[in-house]
């Protein structure tokens, strides 16, 4: 084992390849748990959308589909910059790596800010489930279930974004301190997997929440 490896190869592994493959497999398993974690919500969503189709369509109309569309655009772009960051890491290009990671963080922040405005709008229009919930229309209670699911799903998605931003900032510090090289960039790769996964969740959330029924 060469000296350059001994600092990046953990004691329990034999080779760097074993270490890399383990990290990648581990991250994928974690993403599987995330699929099932969000899965509990998607399943609940499916049940109530089946039971209360009209209420879901009417509630969905109150969401701003263009804001949602723009946010999807922002997240897809951040996925691109994340993929490019991994690409830069593969090439061992530190400057590009840091730049793309910063880009990704910026786009993630934009997404959250827009989400914040949307939440604010819901508060102002009493569309937050609870005592002050107001909804024009016959099925107020069922609409409330829609908004409950909307807030939980987007809220937990947002929480994942915030965690992702935290991890990204750590990665930027590490990259700045020359912790990565052509041989070793596991953390970038598996964080990339995480970031893309969060993107995928949104790819489903957008049509499920914003695009039910027909825009008026």
């Amino acid at each position: 084992m060469s000296d350059s490896h001994s600092s990046i190869l953990s004691h329990q592994f034999e080779t760097l390849d074993q270490q890399r493959a383990s990290a990648e497999f581990g991250m994928w398993l974690f993403l599987v748990t995330e699929v099932l974690f969000f899965g509990g919500l998607f399943v609940s969503y499916a049940v109530y959308r089946y039971l209360y189709p009209v209420a879901f369509a009417e509630s969905s109309q109150t969401l701003d589909m263009w804001l949602g569309c723009f946010n999807t655009f922002v997240l897809l772009t951040s996925s691109l910059t994340m993929a490019l960051a991994v690409h830069a890491a593969e090439a061992g290009d530190k400057r590009k790596l840091i730049r793309f990671l910063l880009f990704t963080m910026f786009l993630g922040t934009v997404f959250l800010v827009i989400k914040g405005f949307e939440y604010h709008h819901k508060f102002e229009h009493h569309l937050v489930p609870g005592a002050h919930f107001e909804f024009e229309g016959p099925e107020k209670e069922h609409a409330q279930i829609f908004f409950f699911l909307y807030f939980v799903m987007t809220g937990i998605h947002g929480l994942h974004m915030i965690i992702g931003l935290g991890v990204l900032s750590v990665l930027i510090l590490m990259a700045y301190n020359d912790r990565f090289s052509k041989e070793y960039f596991n953390p970038i790769h598996i964080t990339g997997l995480y970031w893309h996964f969060v993107d995928i969740v949104w790819i489903f959330l957008y049509p499920f929440l914003y695009l039910i029924g027909h825009p008026k």
Binding site: W28, M65, H196, I203, P207
Partner: protein, 98 residues
């Protein structure tokens, strides 16, 4: 031990990533556009199909699953398969309640 290939590099180029990205944006516009059509129950089917295609593209290329070992295919598939099982068995109840 010093000659191990530490990191397999994906064969994708920056141009490919950008093309893929543009493709995803086109699909996004398609899903928005489709929501204006009155297709009845097929609205959901269309939106869902487009979402699945988008997700697949991200998984296969952005997440490099296209170029990794079988184990990762299996793992990634298992998560979604389980969710599908879950929904399928659950709707045995909701679809057939008296």
């Amino acid at each position: 031990m010093s000659h191990d290939t530490a990191a397999p590099h994906s064969p994708l180029t920056i141009t490919f990533y950008v093309k893929l990205y543009i493709g995803l944006l086109v699909l996004l516009l398609a899903t928005v556009g489709a929501s204006y059509l009155h297709l009845g129950p097929f609205n959901f089917a269309v939106a869902f199909t487009i979402a699945v295609i988008k997700a697949l593209l991200v998984i296969l290329y952005f997440m490099h699953v296209r170029f990794t070992e079988k184990l990762i295919w299996l793992t990634a598939g298992a998560g979604f398969l389980w969710l599908a099982y879950f929904l399928g068995l659950l709707f045995n109840d909701y679809l057939f309640r008296w």
